[in-house]
Subunit: 351 residues, 2 copies
C-alpha cells in the first residue's frame, strides 16, 4: 500500500504510443521488453518480481523454492521434433533449471477452442505425460477452459512450475563477473527453423528437427560438480541475441562473442538466409548459456556433453571488463559489430 501514491493510473507513456498490442509485443525483442518492464512489472511491483529472471526464487521455512510460468501458443501444434505438449513441459522445466532449481511440480492449464479434435488433445496430453516423466516432474494440478469456435486457436497451454534450489549459488545476471567464460550447450536455431518448416508453404532441403529438450539434468550436473555457475539463461524468444543483451544490461558489463565459435548447422544457416533471419536471434528450446569462471569452462563443456545425447557444447565468448552495456560480435573476418536486441517480431508464435 506504500506505493499507492507513486503509482499512476494512466497507462505508461512508452506503451501508450502503441494504442494496441502488436504481434511484436510478444516476440522477445524490444517491444516485449518494454511491455513487461514499463507496464507489468511496475504495476505488480515487489522485490521478488523485480528480479526479472526466468523464474523467481523465494525462501519458505528452510527451503529455497523457484516459481515460474509460461503460456504456450506455438503453431503448428505438431512439428518435427516436438509438439505443443512436450514444449509446455520442457519450457517451464527449463525456466526452473535456469535458476539452478530441481524441477518438482507443474500445473497445466488448457484453453481449448471448441471443435478441437479430441484425438489431438489426447496426443498432446500423452506427449506432456512422456515429457514430464523424462524430466522427472509431476503434473499435480490443472484446469480446462473451452472458448467458442473462432475465439481461440485449437489449444493454448499454460504451465507453472515449482522447483527446489539445493545449493548456495546466486545464479543471476548480477553475479556475472569480468573474465567469465560464456559456454553454450549446442547448435542454435533448430527449434525456430523446425517450426517454420512445418508452416505451410515452406520446405527446406533437409528435415530440421526442433532442439526442444529438458535442460535440468545438464544444469544440475554442472552444479553438483561444484562449478561456480554465475548465470544461466535459455535461448528462447529472441534467441541468443536477446539473452546476451538482457544479461549485459542487468550486469552492466560488455559481452564479447566470436562468430566462428557459435555453432549453427549448415541447413539451419541456409534456411535462415532464405527467410532473412539471423540464426543468433532465432528461438531455441533446448539451448542455454552458462556464465562461469574461464578456468572452469573446459570442465563445464565436458559435463554438458556427457549429460546429453546431442553433445555440442563449446565456449562462444567472454565477459569483458568494460562497464558498458552492449554485446559485441567479432566476425570471422575480424570485424567487430554491436549485436543489438532484436527490435521486432522475427518469428511469431514460436513457443
Amino acid at each position: 500500500m506504500a506505493n499507492e501514491q507513486s503509482f499512476s493510473l494512466s497507462c505508461p507513456v512508452p506503451i501508450q504510443n502503441y494504442s494496441q498490442v502488436l504481434m511484436a509485443h510478444g516476440g522477445g525483442g524490444k517491444l516485449m521488453h518494454q511491455l513487461i518492464s514499463k507496464m507489468i512489472v511496475p504495476a505488480f511491483r515487489n522485490d521478488l518480481l523485480d528480479s526479472m529472471h526466468d523464474s523467481t526464487v523465494f525462501s519458505l521455512g528452510d527451503s529455497r523454492l523457484a516459481f515460474t510460468t509460461d503460456s504456450y501458443v506455438v503453431r503448428p501444434m505438431f512439428f518435427p521434433g516436438g509438439d505443443l505438449g512436450s514444449l509446455a513441459v520442457h519450457g517451464t522445466v527449463n525456466d526452473l533449471a535456469m535458476s539452478g532449481a530441481r524441477p518438482l511440480y507443474l500445473s497445466a492449464g488448457f484453453i481449448i477452442e471448441e471443435g478441437l479434435p479430441m484425438e489431438a488433445l489426447w496426443r498432446i496430453v500423452c506427449s506432456m505425460r512422456e515429457a514430464a516423466e523424462r524430466a522427472e516432474v509431476q503434473i499435480i494440478t490443472g484446469d480446462t477452459k473451452v472458448v467458442d469456435k473462432g475465439k481461440g486457436d485449437g489449444l493454448f497451454i499454460n504451465t507453472a512450475g515449482i522447483g527446489l534450489v539445493e545449493h548456495q549459488l546466486v545464479i543471476a545476471p548480477g553475479s556475472v563477473q569480468p573474465g567469465d567464460a560464456i559456454v553454450l550447450n549446442g547448435d542454435l536455431g533448430r527449434h525456430g527453423m523446425a517450426i517454420m518448416s512445418a508452416r505451410e508453404g515452406l520446405e527446406f532441403e533437409s528435415n530440421i528437427h526442433s532442439d526442444s529438450a529438458p535442460l535440468a539434468g545438464s544444469v544440475l550436473a554442472l552444479i553438483r560438480a561444484g562449478l561456480d555457475v554465475h548465470c544461466l539463461r535459455d535461448c528462447t524468444r529472441g534467441g541468443l541475441t536477446s539473452v546476451l543483451n538482457e544479461i549485459s544490461e542487468t550486469s552492466g558489463f560488455t559481452i564479447e562473442i566470436e562468430e566462428r565459435l557459435v555453432p549453427v548447422r549448415e541447413d539451419v544457416r541456409a534456411a535462415c538466409e532464405i527467410l532473412g533471419l539471423d540464426p543468433l536471434s532465432v528461438a531455441c528450446e533446448g539451448r542455454f548459456v552458462v556464465f562461469l569462471p574461464a578456468a572452469q569452462a573446459p570442465k563445464a563443456i565436458e559435463i554438458l556433453n556427457a549429460s546429453t545425447v546431442e553433445p555440442g557444447a563449446c565456449q562462444i565468448g567472454t565477459v569483458s571488463a568494460t562497464r558498458e552495456n552492449r554485446v559485441i560480435l567479432k566476425s570471422t573476418l575480424g570485424a567487430r559489430r554491436i549485436l543489438d536486441m532484436p527490435s521486432g517480431e522475427q518469428l511469431p508464435r514460436i513457443c
Copy 2:
C-alpha cells in the same frame, strides 16, 4: 515408468464418443468432469493429482504447500462488480483457500490477441494489482504471449498460486462425516447473472453485481478459531449443484439441502427464470460451502459474517448417514428430489 504398460495410447472411450471438444466440456458439468477424470487425470496419474481438489497439497521440508492453477476467459472482460483481472486473482486465491492454505504467491500468464487496446490491458493489470493487494498475495512471476488477430479473444489470463498450509486439518471431501452441517457464506448466482446482464441484449430490472471476492480471509478466520473444518469448496462453474455432487461422489454420503434455506436474491431468481437457469447451478466467484460438525455451525456463521462486508452466511443442509452418492433437495413444499450434476453448458465462459 511403471505405468507404461497399463497406459493405453488410444483416446479413452467415453471421450472418443465426442470426436471434438464441445463448449460443454468446459462448463463445469458432466462432460467436463468426464474429460478431466477419464482423460487428463489418468494420463498424468500421480498420487497428488488424484486428490482432485481445488488445489493440491504437498510437503516440502517442514512446510505443507498448496499449488493450484486456473485460466480465465470470461466474456465480457469488464462486468458489473469486477473484471477479468480481479477474477483471475480472486479465483486462484480462492482455490488455495479451499485447501485451508494462506495464499502467498501468484504467477500471471497473459495470452493477448493482437489488436487489444493497450488501455484495456492496463486497466486489467491495475485491477489485478488491486485485487492482489486486497488478498495479500504477491504476483512474483509472469509471461506474455501475443497471438494473431482472430486467433484469440482479446485477453486470456492464467494464474497459478502457491499457499502455505499452517494447520493440521485434512480439508477434503474424504473428511466429510455423517451429521456434518453444510454452511454457505452468502446468496447464490450473482456472478453468473452479472455476466449475463453485461452480455449484449440482456437487461434485467435491477443492476446485479458479481459476488467476485477473495475468500482466504474468511477461511483462515474459521481455521484460526479452532473449528473442525472437514471440507471447503467454492461454488464456481456448475454452481452449488456441481460442488455438492462432487463432494457426495468422493465422500460416498448422501447430501441433503433445504431449498428454503438456500439464499438467492429476488432479482437473481427472476433473471434465472427468464433464462431458464437454476440459480443453484449458476457460477459464483465469492461463495463457498463449509462442511463441519453441526454443533460448530452457529460459530462458523458468526465468523463468516464478521469476516465480510456482505454478511449472509447460513446453514443450508446436512450430510446424511446414508451411504449413497447423491444430493437431495427438499423443496419448500416438502417434496424431495435428486439434484443431479448439471449435464451441459449452462452459462459458457463465466470465469
